[in-house]
């Protein structure tokens, strides 16, 4: 469909492009700004010279922040919870989504509501915390994984997708004597790879970004995640900078490499955001697909 080109049309298009360009810039520029500040000469950063372009490029900030106590361990915890949490939620939410898609399931409607309503309703923070404590899930790595095994949102995504697979495929396997487990593994899962990928992406981003569960449940620093450590450093960054400056390795560093509080903040922020920036362009289409399937039902 070709539209006539007239002055008002051109004006409209220009204005439209301009507004969107501005908003998009506002979404992306902060990350760029933080990045150039972490790779530039720290002396220039400190005196406020780095505005739009990096200068005196160096990467020692990244090496230095990983000497901060706890950061390596926090990175390990973050990766571990992302990997395990994603795997477990895939198994739990997909399998339950499958069984709840079957009309012959005993009291199917009741159990479906039983799961879905937890999206909107919970007992409240304090009763939940006391329960977690009684279950031994405070200061325990599994507190990051177990509560997320059945996620109502992922369950809906999977169930909706499975219901669109022609029933005849499963029926023929059923005639060959395949039980539910065999059909789930051999027939449903291979056909559902697009939605599994979507759920995996959602789940891993969610796990990576998750932060409040550490605040609520963890007191021991060996369970802190990168997000939590970043939060701590954002709040007490001056003290951290002093420790780093006085550390034996930092004594003989030249001023261009010396970390200021600002460079620490920005460098850790980059460490936390880089994994997402890397995977994001590849995964974006999965997100879009997921939100569209999810839109079918709440």
């Amino acid at each position: 469909m070709k539209k006539r080109r007239n002055p008002s049309e051109t004006m409209f298009q220009l204005l439209n492009y301009a507004v969107f360009a501005l908003f998009t810039l506002a979404c992306v520029f902060p990350f760029y700004y933080i990045f150039i500040n972490t790779i530039s000469d720290n002396h220039l950063v400190k005196t406020g010279k780095i505005l739009l372009l990096p200068s005196g490029i160096q990467f020692s900030n990244y090496l230095q922040v990983f000497q901060l106590r706890g950061l390596g361990n926090a990175a390990f915890i973050s990766v571990a919870r992302t990997v395990l949490g994603t795997l477990f939620t895939l198994v739990g939410s997909c399998f339950l989504g499958y069984t709840l898609s079957k009309g012959e399931m005993w009291q199917r409607k009741f159990w479906y509501r039983f799961v879905i309503i937890t999206m909107y309703f919970n007992a409240g923070l304090i009763p939940w915390y006391v329960t977690m404590k009684n279950l031994g899930l405070t200061n325990n790595f599994w507190a990051y994984v177990l509560p997320g095994i059945v996620s109502p949102f992922f369950l809906i995504l999977f169930k909706t997708y499975v219901e669109s697979i022609p029933a005849s495929l499963e029926e023929s396997a059923q005639l060959d004597g395949a039980g539910y487990m065999v059909r789930f593994v051999r027939i449903v899962l291979p056909l559902a790879t697009p939605i599994i990928a979507t759920i995996a992406v959602f789940a891993s981003v969610g796990q990576w970004n998750s932060f409040l569960d550490t605040v609520f449940l963890m007191r021991q620093s060996k369970f802190f995640t990168l997000q939590y450590v970043l939060y701590q450093y954002l709040n007490e960054v001056n003290a951290v900078a002093a420790t780093l400056r006085n550390s034996p390795t930092a004594q003989h560093l030249d001023p261009s490499k010396l970390l200021s509080p600002a460079s620490i903040r920005m460098t850790i922020s980059m460490v936390v955001v880089l994994p997402i920036l890397f995977v994001y362009p590849f995964f974006q289409r999965f997100f879009v697909k997921g939100i569209m399937i999810g839109a079918v039902k709440g």
Binding site: M1, F12, Q13, N16, Y17, F20, F23, T24, C27, V28, F31, I34, N37, G48, L51, L96, T99, K102, M105, W106, W111, F114, I116, T118, Y120, F121, N122, A123, G124, L125, I126, P127, T131, L135, P147, I149, G179, Y180, V205, N209, S210, F211, L212, Q227, L230, L234, A262, R265, S269, V272, V273, I276, Q284, F287, V288, I291, M292, A295, K297, G298
Partner: protein
């Protein structure tokens, strides 16, 4: 001998169980397969309801419930009788309502974003804008805080550096210490983070609108804005309505991550929403019975809101949102 006997016996027993399982009605079988996962849902989402009894006892962390004194409705009554808590609750409810209301008030923005984006001619640029503008949705609120800080802070913030370089100001402006417009600032961060993402659903809905309608309207002499107003907007209304109902159902659940990260002693009076208040009272202040009372009432109100929204959805659309 004995061992192999035992093993054989074990195998027999196991095949017995398997046989029993195979012979079961499919419905029961499915239920048994799902049971472990349903149990997890029960443990993590329903078991905590038991904790509501802490609202009626003088409970302190680490004690057993029977060691503590039964106090009945003392903390429920303190919500209205005690002037200090009453004024706190009023303030917290005000913040909660204002934030949710602002959210609903700006809920047209993703619709407009999607409509104007789809009016763009170049498909490639459209894709790029869509990708880049959804990016902030995938970072945590802590990173948003870090981003805000590196944009607006004194000394290292981009905006102050820019203003100084352009000689527009002599001394840096401390944007972040301002306690004015806390609500609008928080709303602004929410829009920055979520606008592009929320628009995706509407973009999808736009592509499913029948293109022939536009062609017919254009033939009849309708311009761009008439097409948008009479075809696109009505086409998006069902989606908008569902999302609006969901935000009504979540009116008092505005979460706490954002407010937790951005709270400081200066803006606390404006930023403390219900969820954050419960956290500050119960986990920082250690007043478990009182915090339980507040979260209990909140849960009850939110389930009422949910069923109201569901009923509205059923009567207007003939479809439930549950």
């Amino acid at each position: 001998m004995l061992q192999s006997d035992a093993r054989q016996h074990g195998i027999q027993r196991r095949t017995g169980i398997v046989k029993q399982f195979v012979g079961m009605r499919p419905g029961t079988k499915l239920f048994l397969l799902s049971a472990p996962f349903l149990l997890l849902v029960f443990i993590f989402s329903y078991l905590p309801l038991y904790g509501w009894i802490y609202a009626f006892f003088e409970y302190r962390a680490g004690l057993k419930i029977f060691e503590t004194k039964f106090i009945g409705f003392k903390y429920f009554l303190s919500l209205v009788n005690n002037p200090v808590t009453a004024s706190e609750i009023v303030r917290v409810l005000r913040n909660t309502f204002v934030m949710s209301f602002l959210g609903i008030l700006t809920s047209w923005m993703p619709v407009a974003f999607a409509i104007f984006l789809s009016e763009m001619r170049s498909k490639k640029i459209r894709g790029i804008i869509q990708t880049l503008s959804t990016l902030p949705n995938f970072i945590s609120w802590i990173l948003v805080y870090s981003v805000v800080w590196s944009m607006f802070s004194v000394g290292d913030g981009f905006l102050n550096r820019l203003l100084l370089t352009l000689n527009l100001v002599d001394t840096e402006i401390n944007f972040l210490a301002s306690t004015e417009h806390v609500w609008l600032t928080m709303l602004g961060y929410q829009i920055w983070k979520g606008l592009g993402w929320s628009a995706i659903m509407y973009l999808a809905a736009i592509t499913s609108i029948d293109q022939e309608q536009y062609e017919a309207a254009t033939v009849d002499g309708a311009g761009r804005f008439r097409c948008i107003w009479h075809i696109t907007v009505p086409g998006l209304m069902p989606t908008y309505f569902v999302l609006l109902l969901l935000s009504i159902a979540n009116f008092i659940n505005n979460g706490m991550e954002q407010y937790f990260v951005f709270q400081n002693p200066m803006n606390k009076a404006f930023i403390e929403v219900l969820d954050l208040y419960v956290y500050n009272k119960g986990m920082i202040g250690n007043n478990i019975p009182y915090a339980t009372v507040v979260s209990m009432l909140k849960s009850i109100v939110s389930i009422v809101l949910l069923f109201t929204a569901n009923k509205m959805s059923k009567s207007v659309r003939g479809e439930s949102i549950l």
